[in-house]
């Protein structure tokens, strides 16, 4: 009895020393993905689960669970309503979550109903055309679009107000056109954007870099611009950014996590500390690259502020675009 107690106390002490005095992560941890297995939220959860374990920041494998519905809306309501005080739970989120919050599509809860832990990686918007398209730069496309917007149906993987629609609206605005008059085709996901481009049913596609890169390399479609603040590394290093081509917009799809609002400061700090250590490890870097994601680290109070400013920014954007 006594010996076991001492062992526990020692283990506690050691882990306290290792984590620099903060509370350790719970023994059992869980990441909730608000969609089907295999989707973007799943990838986000697997990134945390695999790299935390590989970097030995957790001892037992993190459990990944799924709760599909409303692109994360059901999971958000579930956490706010039923698991607000559970320190073992993190939930996958993305720029899309902030966009839906800005449009009030997460039910009655706003962005203050949870605690935002941090973003560990990012993907970026891309503007794509068919491989046969005469346009080689965003400028050429934009000029042609500005001259005759009616002959350019733009497709994206989502309804009006979705991330892809927002990207399309930014392109339209960049060409001096009214986003409301855009011929926007709401398709079912990035796969449909690709087939519609290849089939010539749409002329411009809005999508995510990680989803389009293989098709770009295979010569099926052409990426004209990446919507990132700086040049990307790797396969897309040759593609200029929107800003380089003279347009004042980008689209960062951060992939991050939140936890319940009633989780204590100490438990919240345990997560932020673990994330801060995690991003330094080689294990994390290889997991991130393998998932086609780009480095993007914003953790703790900074992330919380960013999500809130994102929501405000999207509210203005949505209003300007006439939603």
């Amino acid at each position: 009895m006594n010996a076991t107690f001492t062992k526990f106390a020692l283990a506690g002490l050691v882990s306290a020393l290792l984590t620099g005095g903060a509370v350790a992560l719970p023994q059992k941890t869980e990441c909730l993905a608000g969609a089907k297995p295999g989707g973007g939220f799943d990838v986000t959860c697997r990134l945390a689960a695999n790299s935390l374990l590989a970097a030995k920041l957790i001892e037992q494998p993190m459990v990944v669970t799924y709760m599909e519905g409303g692109v994360g809306a059901i999971a958000y309501n579930h956490v706010v309503g039923k698991r607000a005080a559970d320190p073992s739970l993190i939930v996958a989120a993305s720029t899309g979550s902030a966009l839906l919050l800005a449009q009030g599509k997460f039910g009655s809860h706003d962005e203050n109903a949870v605690r935002w832990i941090g973003a560990l990686g990012a993907d970026y918007g891309v503007i794509v055309v068919n491989a046969d398209s005469p346009y080689k730069t965003l400028k050429e496309l934009s000029d042609a679009y500005g001259a005759n917007p009616a002959s350019f149906p733009i497709g994206g993987g989502g309804a009006v107000g979705s991330q892809d629609w927002m990207k399309a609206a930014l392109i339209a605005k960049g060409a001096g056109q009214d986003p409301k008059k855009m011929r926007y085709v709401a398709l079912e996901g990035g796969g449909a954007v690709l087939t519609s481009l290849e089939g010539g049913h749409i002329k411009i596609g809005a999508g995510d870099a990680s989803e389009m890169v293989k098709h770009h390399l295979a010569g099926k479609v052409r990426i004209l611009a990446v919507m990132s603040p700086e040049r990307l590394t790797g396969d897309l290093a040759d593609i200029p950014t929107t800003r380089e081509q003279g347009y004042d917009f980008d689209w960062v799809i951060w992939r991050g996590y939140y936890t319940g609002a009633k989780v204590s400061d100490a438990d919240y700090a345990a997560w932020t500390d673990a994330f801060k250590k995690l991003v330094q490890t080689p294990e994390f870097k290889s997991e991130l690259a393998a998932r086609g994601l780009f480095p993007y680290t914003v953790i703790g109070a900074e992330f919380d502020a960013q999500v809130k400013s994102d929501v405000q920014r999207f509210k203005t954007l949505a209003k300007e675009a006439g939603l």
Binding site: K105, V160, A186, L187, G189, T195, S196, H201, R291
Partner: protein, 499 residues
């Protein structure tokens, strides 16, 4: 044609580990398919995290998932035929003639014949996938929103055959289905329609919830009722072998179903429910001269079963050649590749031949395994009918509730299913068929999205619906199917009067 990848694939799929994985997948798939509410997409979604955690290599995971997918298309028919409870989306049409056969005490034959047509459909689908995948993929790309819309018009035109003796009730059912399909996020404008501010309804009414409510819950209620009033139902299994005569009789239906299923499967915008619906209604149009469809016609059973199996194989065409999903289930499988850090794309064939080849080879092996697996089990499965009602009814209810809860993790979905079930029971008492409601629901969704997208492309010009060759061919086919039978009748009558 270079089929090296396929030989690599057979070498991968025929190792004893992968054979065992395939066998386990086929077996699990059959059960998943037979259980109401849990279809291939949920089965794969449930097993994917397990396969990933077990550390299976990507090709083994793909073999497991493909086996589950194929197996569930076989399994779905079992509960459709025996209990009138469709096991999954593709098996709704199977119940229309399968269950009447079981009620006539011919459950064993029905299971054997449908097992055979499943096999034929599956094999035709995989052969098509092996030989024509790149060519078909380039055709599928030609299908834009306008073409999909006209395809749905064609599907609705075949529905004319369902009208039967109660045209008003069939139409009302269809309209009800169309109305239910409008609930949830407006796919174009992104606004919420008829959700009453409930996030649970945000994604609309789930197809599974609707099917389980309409078929399984209302069936359980009818069973209870007949039990209370003392009218018993089946209680006889019949022969468990096939007569050569029946095989010959259903061959045409099976072949037509296989081809339709495969073509619909190749199109990324449609799935097994559309494939089996179109093949059933078309088969009824072509073959139903004596009004035997819906009353236990073997051809009405063979056609949709062949279609849903070849559709499953067809759905791999866009997945493997274009790197985009051909159905909800293949979407989850592509997601599975991403978990293994394999970015799916058009180069998948060239970059990972062992995965693509292994998957296709496992489809061949899986169909053979499933046929072998299904024959001896027909006797056991059909014994389900001998269970007394006091086991069967609570059993159906428990499986339905657990199935819907496990796939949605929400009590609201279960309540919705029960509510739909009560309405379904009432409608059935009033003499409505459930099939038109389901068809309206399935076809209506695809039709609405594509019409709106087509008009978005053209800026509101209706001309876009008549522009491409594909659209025009489909319009002509739709017209033929809609008025053809009457014209034929008229013509033959006139000829007879002249003679």
């Amino acid at each position: 044609m270079n089929l090296d990848y396929l030989w690599t694939g057979f070498a991968v799929a025929l190792t004893w580990q992968n054979l065992l994985i395939g066998l386990v997948g086929c077996f699990l798939g059959t059960i998943i398919g037979a259980l109401p509410a849990i279809g291939p997409i949920n089965g794969i979604a449930l097993l994917l995290p397990i396969a990933y955690t077990l550390g299976l290599p990507p090709e083994s995971t793909m073999i497991l998932l493909a086996a589950i997918y194929t197996g569930s298309e076989y399994g779905g028919r079992i509960s459709s035929i025996l209990l009138n409870v469709p096991g999954d989306a593709g098996a709704v049409m199977t119940a229309l003639d399968g269950n009447p056969l079981a009620r006539q005490g011919r459950a064993g034959e029905a299971l054997m014949i449908s097992g055979l047509s499943s096999f034929v459909g599956g094999i035709i689908g995989v052969v098509g996938l092996t030989l024509f995948a790149p060519f078909l993929a380039s055709l599928a790309i030609g299908f834009g929103p306008a073409e999909y819309f006209v395809l749905m018009v064609f599907a609705f035109a075949t529905l004319g055959s369902m009208v039967g003796s109660q045209p008003v009730k069939t139409l009302l059912g269809c309209v009800l289905g169309l109305m239910l399909a409008t609930v949830g996020l407006d796919p174009t404008s992104g606004a919420y329609r008829f959700t009453f501010d409930s996030p649970e309804l945000g994604d609309g009414i789930d197809f599974v919830v609707l099917v389980i409510g309409l078929f399984s819950i209302s069936e359980a209620m009818l069973m209870l009722e007949s039990h209370a009033t003392g009218t018993s139902i089946v209680g006889k299994v019949g022969r468990t072998f096939v007569r050569w005569k029946d095989v010959v009789f259903t061959t045409g239906a099976t072949l037509r179903g296989s081809i339709i299923g495969f073509v619909v499967g190749v199109l990324p915008g449609t799935g097994a429910s559309v494939a089996s619906a179109v093949s059933y209604t078309l088969e009824k149009r072509v073959s139903d001269r004596d009004g035997t469809f819906g009353k236990g016609d073997m051809r009405g059973l063979a056609s949709p079963e062949a279609a849903n199996n070849s559709c499953a194989a067809g759905a791999f065409v866009p997945m493997l050649t274009l790197g985009v999903p051909g159905s909800g289930t293949t979407a989850v499988m592509l997601g599975a590749l991403m978990l293994y850090n394999i970015q799916p794309g058009p180069q998948l064939f060239a970059e990972r031949p062992e995965i693509v080849g292994g998957l296709i080879a496992s489809l061949y092996i899986g169909n053979v395994l499933l046929l072998l697996l299904n024959i001896p089990f027909v006797g056991i499965f059909s014994r389900l009918l001998l269970l007394p009602n006091w086991i069967l009814v609570p059993g159906i209810l428990v499986l339905s509730v657990v199935g819907v809860y496990s796939t949605h993790a929400s009590v609201e979905a279960v309540l919705l299913m029960l509510g739909v079930g009560c309405i379904g029971w009432l409608l059935r008492k009033l003499g409505f068929d459930m099939a038109p409601i389901i068809l309206g629901f399935v076809l209506g969704k695809v039709m609405e999205v594509n019409l709106r997208n087509a008009l978005a492309i053209s800026g509101g010009e209706l001309g876009i619906l008549f522009q491409s060759h594909i659209s025009i061919i489909l319009w002509v086919l739709a017209a033929l199917v809609a008025v053809g039978p009457w014209a034929l009748q008229l013509w033959s009558r006139r000829r007879r009067s002249r003679a």
